[in-house]
Amino acid sequence: MIAAAVTVALTLVLLAYSLGLRIAHILHARDLERLRARCWPIFAEATMHKTCDSQSDLRTLRHFSRIKLLREWCRFRALIRGEKGHAFKQLADDLALLPVARRLLRRRSTGRKLLALQALGFLRDRESLQSIEQLLRHPSVSISITAATALAHIDPKRAIPLIVPMIAKHRSWPRNQVGRILNIAGPAIVTGPLCDAIESSDPEEAAYLLQFYESAALIDMDSLIAKLLVSESDPRLLAAGLKSVRGHIPEVIIKRLAQHKVWYVRMQAARLLGRFGRREDYQILEPLLSDREWWVRYRAAQAITGLPFLGPNALRKLCDRQKDRFAQDMLRQALAEARLI
């Protein structure tokens, strides 16, 4: 009987605990709604002015918890950009949010640290640079990547050479977030360190780094890629290199890679030739239509379908002319995708 009584009592304790959680949740939600109703109009208004002088508005906000205010400020800040033209950042100064963020950075809780990092990044707090740099090596992935993001906001010139060499080592940094960090810094700052890192790392890491080419300046990368395509032999790096070419690279290089023994190198070569759209490359592309690998045939067919000098009629004729059934099937699929048959 004691056992039964204990379990019933424990069940009741859990019930009470849940109810407590629920009540806390409801109160919190209500409080947040009140805060939002007050601060969002002020925030929105600030984005429209060069300076903000609505001290009376701010006074009403000062009644709320600073941490909650900081959270709302960050949430709003994440929606907008172009802070030079308006007074949104000044609001944070007027509300004395910076000291709050600095204090939160020292807290142990992950949630607090993340909020602090986000805020210090948005506030471009140079004084916290060093403590944030230390967090780059924090064992928690979300903290280290948020720290990297904050650094890119505060001082990209200093941060990017620090962050870029870490990218290939930190595979648990989500790629899309890494891309965002590089975007914050902009191509002028990213290109140099990214090229250096690609040149100095092993082929597998270089191949990983190349996928971030979009965030770098375009022309500078092409000469580096052309160099890699000639000197390197790791198929993953070759494929990543071909994928990242933006302008043009010499035809001889592609011609050689279109016959590479690894299929995904041939596939990327086919794709790139399609992007170039040059008449003289057609001779390289056509044999790829009969490649033994499905994806190579597919990309070659897509490339041929997109060639600017072949009209719908020419393409259909080309398709009928194919002697290899695999080539013909694939070309027909690509034509259908392009809505040409």
Partner: protein
């Protein structure tokens, strides 16, 4: 949240009673856009999903401008643009896309199906305002 609007008279407002339709499933963004447009004297209609927007477009008089997201539940932004361009009343309404999709391909696609302008998130409110103003001016000239 009901926005409190302080009309700032030093800022040049748009023509009075211009109307706008704002469609985005992110309520924060709808709120901010609504606030910005209200203070410029717009009458603002909002929808937080594609279907409400589709119903609005099918049943209401055209607004002067539409600002919308591309990825939304029920009916996508692309479908809405197509609907607008195929509608008798709405076909000339300028559409400004405000989207989190940032690749070239997405931008090109939006223009192909009939968007007039494309702004990526996060956005600069003043820039967006200028772009809206320009679309309205172009429209008036036409």
């Amino acid at each position: 949240m009901t926005p409190t609007v302080n009309l700032d008279l030093t800022m040049p407002a748009f023509e009075p009673l211009a109307t706008a339709l704002v469609v985005d499933d992110d309520e924060d963004i709808v709120y901010l856009l609504r606030h910005l447009l209200l203070r410029d004297g717009f009458i603002v209609h909002t929808a937080t999903n594609g279907r409400d927007a589709r119903d609005f477009i099918a049943n209401s008089k055209p607004t002067d401008i539409v600002i919308m997201d591309l990825m939304m539940p029920y009916v996508s932004g692309a479908e809405l643009i197509t609907q607008i361009r195929e509608s008798r009343d709405w076909k000339d309404v300028p559409v400004v896309v405000l989207s989190g999709k940032v690749t070239e391909r997405d931008v090109v696609h939006a223009f192909e199906i009939g968007a007039n302008d494309y702004v990526t998130k996060p956005y600069n409110p003043q820039e967006l305002r200028a772009r809206i103003k320009r679309q309205l001016a172009l429209q008036r000239r036409a």
